[in-house]
Symmetry: C3
Subunit: 299 residues, 3 copies
Amino acid sequence: MSQIPSTKQQLFQVAKAVCVVAGLSFAFMSTSHAQDKPSGKRSIAEQYIQDMKEGKISEAGDDDHVVQELIIKRSIPITYKYINILMNTPNAFGPGVACTTCHNSNDPSKSYRGLDLSTCKGIIEGSTEKPKRALFTPGTEAKRDILIRRLRNNRMPLGQGFEQSTYTPNHMMVKQWIADGAKNDDNFKKNVLPLFTTANAFGPDTPACTACHMSNQEPPSFHELDMSSHAGIMLGADSVAKGVDKATKVIVAGSPEKSFIWQHLSEDRMPPGISPAEPRDHPNTTILAAWIKQGAKCD
Amino acid sequence: MSQIPSTKQQLFQVAKAVCVVAGLSFAFMSTSHAQDKPSGKRSIAEQYIQDMKEGKISEAGDDDHVVQELIIKRSIPITYKYINILMNTPNAFGPGVACTTCHNSNDPSKSYRGLDLSTCKGIIEGSTEKPKRALFTPGTEAKRDILIRRLRNNRMPLGQGFEQSTYTPNHMMVKQWIADGAKNDDNFKKNVLPLFTTANAFGPDTPACTACHMSNQEPPSFHELDMSSHAGIMLGADSVAKGVDKATKVIVAGSPEKSFIWQHLSEDRMPPGISPAEPRDHPNTTILAAWIKQGAKCD
Amino acid sequence: MSQIPSTKQQLFQVAKAVCVVAGLSFAFMSTSHAQDKPSGKRSIAEQYIQDMKEGKISEAGDDDHVVQELIIKRSIPITYKYINILMNTPNAFGPGVACTTCHNSNDPSKSYRGLDLSTCKGIIEGSTEKPKRALFTPGTEAKRDILIRRLRNNRMPLGQGFEQSTYTPNHMMVKQWIADGAKNDDNFKKNVLPLFTTANAFGPDTPACTACHMSNQEPPSFHELDMSSHAGIMLGADSVAKGVDKATKVIVAGSPEKSFIWQHLSEDRMPPGISPAEPRDHPNTTILAAWIKQGAKCD
């Protein structure tokens, strides 16, 4: 399909040369009302057209590329009305029942964690069962907050269902190690590190952490994360891409709940049962995060 | 990925032994508020965690496993609000238009069977066109009632579209035989049984019933159903799994409408056009049945 | 599965013969209330059953076959309530965010083209940003109108994302040629025709128009459209199937916006990012067009 006979190629070159010149005079004929406005006065459609003409729209890539380019980068306001639809609609963040089937009341005997995602107030209030917990901070980046985390992050190691316990002795061993300061001590060397380097440590038929996170080089190591040594774990993720000083810390010594390693070991991705193969950056997850960053307004 | 070098294996064994002991002292640090409560006082989240710790959550399997474990087994109330969303939303029970595109009024000239699925009253009232018919009995198991049946059961034989008639002479032959008492008489032997054992009897390019239901052994016979003889048909399905006395009857002599065989021959699965390969136990179908069993409440 | 032993075949033939006779007497036992009514008095369910019995329902084929047979052909009223759901629900017309994420206000600084698809008034009003434009004419066939076009038509040439400019000099060359009368002059021969016959003319890694539209014969030429000559282009699409006089014109000389060729070159399919492999005749797109043809009523 893409082979061009040489004579056509020549015509093509001529045509392009002509077009470049012709383009100058054609420019005014299309959306000319957008051309002379300062960008602050342009509508989002005009700005989009201008960016498209100038090749400023990034190449397709991530699953949320469309949302990033057309909505997020242009600060289109996300309405609560749409957030409400996402919370109540099956398959909104990937195949599965709606969020509100399990989280639709602040009564913990009827709704998991006393979490009511069926109202704006309930979303902002978060889990009302002890320990009470907000799901995010309105007006801030929410990617690492629990609401978005639960929709994005696959439980590690990959391959286990929500029915597998996250309270095994091995899980508790890691949690306690972080709580105790995440030190490079004998306990770490003898008891903790082997859990990261051994298959089936956190669930049946699961790979070792180091099967995917074995060095600071990606590929083959996902997120440039090295879980084969204390130094690698404390260095964190993306140390090459971001630089050592700006690498993403995966351990917050003393705080398992704030440590990405513990979050990944203990939190199931929602909706429950979703395949890890489903896009993590689902367009609607990105929209939900944008609503939060825009202030999580209810009107 | 799952190969473990022997030295690591040893470390792993040690680690696990340590962890089992350690686990005892770690137990109190996580959700300790749940530990001492009698199960009746636990929140559903606490009960879930307890079950997970004790390995009481079944292994993933059926398509509605998530819903069974997290919602049905824990008696989470299903709201009409969610049922209303399911009735009005495309793709709610598998790929297809919303139920209410065809069933949204009690006027039989505008809505199939005068069935209004757009209101709670309409769902409970059922088909208002003669013959009037409720779709289920609130408060009871609904798996065999028509609303759930239509969403779960593939029309038999597999492979024919909704456009193929269910009123052919062969269909009528089976219906009349059941209406007349489903006897093992000459009419059955000469006219009815051959329809079950012959390809293309109920539609073009369709297998014989006995291609899939040929004995009481599964595999190869689906549902342990033997349609190759009068005795097999009257015995019913799952006679090995459930025992002969508790086998599922597929014929109610004198009542074609109550006979599973006739239901399967004459009812198209909804939404129309859905592939038989789509999960029969769709999570939202299971939720709809649970709402009915909980009493089909409208508030 | 479809092999029939000869003795069974004989039984089958007998059974069928018996059934045909038996069918006459059986007919009254099922939906007999439908049999004697003139078709105008039948409910849609009765009419459907009658059509099914008479084999008047077309064989499954197109993606919207179900909707065509059960809804469109029977003039079931489409409610604005359902249209509103389609506009607000993710994945309603294929995988993607809801229409209203980008089109939910008549403020062009917040909503692309000042288009508000979140209200019935807004849908009917269309784009309020200059140039103002209605999306369809209520009560008329809408397949070629912009609302349906945007949901159905893949941008040509296939394979480029919405981020690729539709304002390149080559695009402008074609637009100007149509605006100037689409003549078979030197400009066409030297500058325009080569764009249609050359790969990568309208975007990187895209085939020539003539790779798929090379003659009046389908196959191999899609839509029997020949873009390899001025005569072929002016003849239009489907000239064999419809006849030369009724072929679908792809050029309206002087009006690029009305010319299918320009529409296909310049309009991205919605939702943005949708794969060209997704069904063009999505059931819900057909329903949306039917709502328009029925008058686009808001109540």
